[in-house]
């Protein structure tokens, strides 16, 4: 694996880690959500320091260039994150809808009650 790729992976993992920890420090990022990114950083770190893991995996999977395997792995991880985000958004939309409807009906009931009080 070209050394430049390894250095890039190392740099990216460190920069991402700095960003994530910075956000945690400012309490802008809930701890539970950060776990994925920390795992991602650790993974990149591991690969850049121990490329032997990728060489071995590439050999087993019959992939010619180890760099291709790294890209595939990263793409896979991104797809996972995308899927999890879709789930989260879907859940949020449901909650928002319920909340809006609950609010609206409460407001209506309040208006009806103040009408009957008159």
């Amino acid at each position: 694996m070209p050394i430049i790729l390894r250095i890039t992976l190392l740099a990216v993992s460190l920069i991402t880690a700095v960003f994530v920890f910075g956000k945690i420090r400012k309490s802008q990022f809930a701890v539970a959500d950060t776990l994925y990114w920390i795992f991602f950083c650790l993974m990149l770190l591991l690969i850049s320091v121990f490329p032997q893991i990728i060489y071995a995996a590439a050999h087993i999977l019959n992939i010619e260039s180890p760099a291709n395997l790294i890209f595939t792995v990263i793409i896979f991880l991104l797809l996972v994150k995308l899927f999890l985000l879709s789930l989260k958004i879907s859940s949020l939309e449901t909650k928002l809808t319920r909340l809006i409807q609950s609010c609206a009906i409460e407001r209506k009931e309040k208006n009806e009650n103040s009408e009957t009080d008159k």
Partner: protein, 227 residues
Amino acid sequence: MKTLIIIPAYNEAENIERVVDGLINGYPQYDYVVINDGSSDNTEEICKSRGYNYISHPVNLGLAGAVQTGMKYALLKNYDAAIQFDGDGQHNPEYIAEMEKLIENGTNIVIGSRFVTEKKPKTARMIGSILISSAIKLTTGQKIKDSTSGMRMFDRKTVKILAEAVDLGPEPDTVSLLIRMGFKVKEVQVTMNERIAGESYLNFSRSINYMFRMFTSILILQWFRRS
């Protein structure tokens, strides 16, 4: 000293009357509030018809959200202390008085612990608790014997922080963080009951997930969090 008992309840229709009646009849000196966390069963109807003091979420938020709503209510109503109390009957109110005394003497957080004088059993079920206690000991130096106990009392200062913080749930990693920030935490020996009715939230995979998150949060993430 005015203490508020916060009772988070999600689908506890089978337990809630027993728990609240127990408090009203046996311990009327304490105020309580049931936080109905968007239950899909008739927990809310029961609270309404029995005239209980309750707050209802239109949507489910989870335990952290429910407890925080209780904390906001405690802050609003100017309570001296607030205690997290299970809606399924596992906690016993007889120990509240002892916990109150510690708060009065300056402790910030009092944990109702099953293992102060009783030994913690070394079973599979306790592995999580043992691991989390070790993580807390490692990072704060303090030995919390029942780290996963949900029976926790907080003083006024802590209630305000918990009510307003974005990421401080009623979990052992919060306790660990607060210890590191200088808060005084003590444990009081209590007994707890097994769940009688309804379903617990924790199954095997959720327990593993929980332990993993707590571990990472206590050992790694809390170093980056500031007050």
